[in-house]
Amino acid sequence: MNATQPEITTLLATFFLGESAFALNAGVVQEVIRLDAVTPVRHSPPEVAGVINLRGRIVTLLDTGLILGAQPARRDRDSRILVMEDRGEFLGLLVDRMGEVIEAEPETSAPLPANIPPAQARFFSGVCRSGGRVLTLLNPVELLNGVRS
């Protein structure tokens, strides 16, 4: 699938890290699961929270907060994992909590503000407004690549 080509009506899965609201194209998300038992991985980078067993599949759990240069994601009852597949490999993004699945409104989209540091700026594709709040749109490709690198 081509993530850079949004469909006419694009659905955005929104989530939160701390107080910041983020949005991700719902099409790239396999499913959303709860945080369950996490098996830590030795010598892994700090962004890798561990691995989880999802119905027989190994999903690598990434700490989205750390990846986005912010605080580590909370791990509690509201914590959710957005499971994505990238070339047969399953990744899980650990976020503080899930928001709504909303329809994207292109007219509200705007470029990133200039004061974002370049190291993180590659993970964002822009901002948009929804329900009176500003959502930061994530670039799932860069996000996955960044994790690979």
């Binding site: 396999q30 499913e31 959303v32 899930m98």
Partner: protein, 702 residues
């Protein structure tokens, strides 16, 4: 009172004799009047006798003059009545006049015939001399003279007046007995009158009897008148007088004459014979019966004689009666004098006895007292006096007691004087000590005075403080009383509070239990809501995933996406409701926890309150007991303070007094110091006096 002062000056004897004199005074007065009366009676009787003596010749003169005239008238040699010649009768008259002249200066003067008395009574012609002159004129006149008969009549009237005067002046009416009165009527009036009338009758009748012509009717009538007059005025009166005199004399209380009736009865009988005979002749003549002249003359003579003799004898008997009377009076007078004298003698004797038994012993007792006065106490009062029962006896006994007591006293004095002498020496030395001691005293008195002033001031402060304390105590007592009442109320209230807190504690426990139950129920609900939340969360997740799946499915998944959205909305509603429930349950749980906490706090507070209340109750109980004790003690204290107050006042007074007294002591001490020397000299003098006293006491003989 001068009289009482005079009596104070008199001795008892003089007083007694004065009393006797006063007692005798009325006796003497009575005696005098009695005696005077008796003497007057005697004088009267004596005078009566004198009158009789003077009367006697006068009566005889009447008779003699009558005889002379009748004799002269007839010219006969013999008188008609006494048968004697006129010359003889004339001589008899002369002799009688001589006798009268002789009597006049003595007896006549006694009965009022002295010339001075006659002049006073204007009766000068009734003196013996003028009447005799009249007689001489009659005698020298011829019987044939015209006024011869009338002159004789006048002379006889004079004589009769003289007789009456002699009788009148004898104070006859003063005689208490009647016999003398009637006898005097006979002697001084009736007989003279009778003789006079007989003379008149004889001078009328006898010449006419000698007439040859006889008696005329007028003569007879005149004779009848004479007869009737003689009968009624002379005869009846004379005999009546005599009979009365006899009767009265027999009844006379004193001085009855035993000879009166025997002597006069024969004469009276003769008179009673002679007069009726004459009257019978006169009666006969008056009736015209001729009578012999000689018979008539003789009957006249007999009647005259009988009358004269009766008169003379009556006078004699009257004298006797009067003499008997004088004897009786004299006898009575003598008895009066003797009785009075005896009474006086007896009284005097008794007074003498009284004076003797009082004055004599008194003199003895006074002599004894004089001895005592001179210091001789050795004598005793005679035992005879002491044994007496009267005031003298009392006096003697008291004097004896006094003597004994005086002796003992003088002995005591002697002993005392010796002691005094001894003591005066001691006093002399003591006076020196006193002088120094008194100056010390003065010094100390100053100190004490200052201290007393200080003390007085202090006591004043204390007094003020004490009164304040008393006031405060009174206030405290009042407050304590109020407090006791309040504590009682508090005790009641605290008991109530204890009970209420116990109830509250119990209720708090129950509330806690209830709240805990509620909390448990809330927790259980919480678990249910968590399950629901979990379910709704999973449902939500499921819906999300469905949405995502629908989104991945593209247009095919659109319907599915709607369902997923619906499910998600349901899940979100459930989640919101659950959240709401959860929040509410959480609120309930919080409220429950808070309620439990609060209830526990309340419970704790209640138990604290309960504890406090119990403590307070106990404390109040103790407080009440203590307060009662305090109240009682306050009462005692108040009483004590009051007493102390009064004590303080007393001591204040006392200290003031002490201060004053100390001043006095100081003065006294100074005086003592000043007079110490005087005292020493006095002690010396005292020693001298003691010596003198010893000497004086030694003078008493005990």
């Amino acid at each position: 009172m001068p009289l009482s002062r005079l009596f104070e000056r008199l001795t008892i004897g003089q007083k007694t004799w004065a009393s006797l004199a006063l007692f005798c005074l009325p006796l003497g007065v009575l005696f005098y009047f009695n005696l005077d009366q008796l003497s007057a009676n005697i004088v009267f009787a004596t005078q009566e006798i004198a009158g009789n003596r003077y009367q006697r010749p006068l009566v005889q003169l009447v008779r003699a003059v009558a005889d002379y005239q009748t004799a002269s008238q007839t010219g006969a040699q013999t008188a008609l009545q006494n048968g004697q010649p006129a010359t003889a009768n004339a001589a008899a008259v002369d002799a009688l006049f001589q006798q009268l002249r002789h009597l006049e200066p003595t007896v006549g003067a006694q009965v009022g015939f002295d010339p001075a008395a006659l002049r006073v009574a204007k009766l000068e012609p009734l003196g013996a001399a003028p009447v005799e002159v009249k007689w001489q004129a009659l005698r020298s006149a011829a019987p044939t003279a015209k006024s011869w008969e009338a002159d004789g009549d006048s002379l006889m009237s004079d004589l009769r007046t003289m007789i009456g005067r002699a009788g009148d002046l004898s104070n006859l009416t003063l005689d208490p007995e009647m016999d003398s009165y009637y006898l005097a009527d006979v002697t001084s009036v009736v007989t003279a009158q009778a003789l006079h009338r007989l003379r008149n009758a004889s001078l009328f009748v006898l010449p006419r009897l000698r007439q040859t012509t006889g008696l005329s009717a007028a003569d007879r009538t005149q004779i009848a008148i004479y007869a009737a007059t003689i009968k009624e005025s002379d005869y009846d009166r004379l005999t009546g007088d005599l009979d009365t005199a006899f009767r009265e004399n027999a009844k006379a209380a004193r001085g009855a004459s035993p000879t009166l009736r025997p002597a006069l009865t024969p004469l009276k009988a003769r008179y009673e014979q002679a007069l009726p005979a004459l009257l019978a002749h006169l009666q006969a003549l008056a009736e015209g019966k001729p009578q012999r002249s000689e018979d008539v003359r003789q009957s006249f003579a007999a009647a005259g004689q009988a009358t004269l003799e009766l008169s003379q004898s009556t006078v004699t008997e009257l004298d006797r009666v009067l003499e008997a009377r004088i004897d009786a009076y004299a006898n009575y007078r003598w008895r009066l004098i003797a009785g009075t004298g005896i009474a006086l003698a007896i009284a005097t004797f008794f007074f003498w006895l009284v004076v003797g038994t009082i004055a004599g012993p008194l003199r003895t007792v006074v002599a004894q007292l004089a001895q005592v006065a001179q210091g001789d106490l050795s004598g005793d009062v005679p035992p005879g006096f002491q044994a007496r029962g009267d005031e003298i006896g009392q006096l003697s006994r008291s004097l004896q007691t006094m003597l004994v007591a005086l002796r003992a006293m003088v002995e005591d004095i002697s002993v005392g004087v010796r002691r005094l002498s001894h003591s005066s020496a001691g006093l002399l030395s003591a006076s020196g000590t006193l002088t120094s001691g008194s100056s010390d005293t003065s010094l100390k008195a100053h100190t004490v005075a200052a201290a007393a002033e200080q003390m007085s001031a202090n006591v004043g402060f204390v007094s003020a403080g004490m009164s304040e304390a008393a006031d405060n105590l009174a206030q405290v007592t009042a407050a304590t009383t109020e407090m006791t009442a309040s504590i009682g109320e508090i005790a009641v209230s605290s008991e109530q509070a204890r009970r209420i807190t116990a109830q509250a504690s119990q209720q708090a426990l129950e509330v806690t239990k209830q709240i805990q139950l509620l909390g448990q129920a809330a927790r259980e609900i919480g678990r249910v809501t968590e399950t629901i939340t979990e379910i709704s969360s999973q449902t939500n997740l499921l819906a999300l995933n469905a949405t995502i799946e629908a989104a991945r499915a593209g247009a095919a998944g659109k319907g599915f996406a709607v369902v997923a959205n619906e499910i998600k909305a349901l899940a979100q509603q459930t989640a919101a409701a659950t959240e709401d429930i959860r929040q509410r349950i959480t609120g309930v749980q919080q409220s429950t926890a808070a309620g439990i906490g609060n209830v526990e706090g309340v419970s704790q507070v209640i138990s604290e309150v309960s504890h406090l209340v119990t403590t307070i109750a106990a404390a109040i109980e103790e407080q009440a007991t203590a307060t009662k004790g305090i109240s009682v003690n306050l009462g005692h204290a108040s009483h004590g303070v009051q007493e102390a107050n009064s004590r303080v006042a007393e001591s204040s007074l006392a200290s003031s007094e002490i201060a004053r007294d100390i001043v006095v002591v100081d003065q006294a001490a100074r005086q003592m110091a000043g007079t110490g020397d005087q005292m020493r000299s006095s002690a010396t003098e005292l020693a001298a006096v003691a010596e003198k006293l010893e000497l004086a006491a030694g003078r008493f003989r005990i």
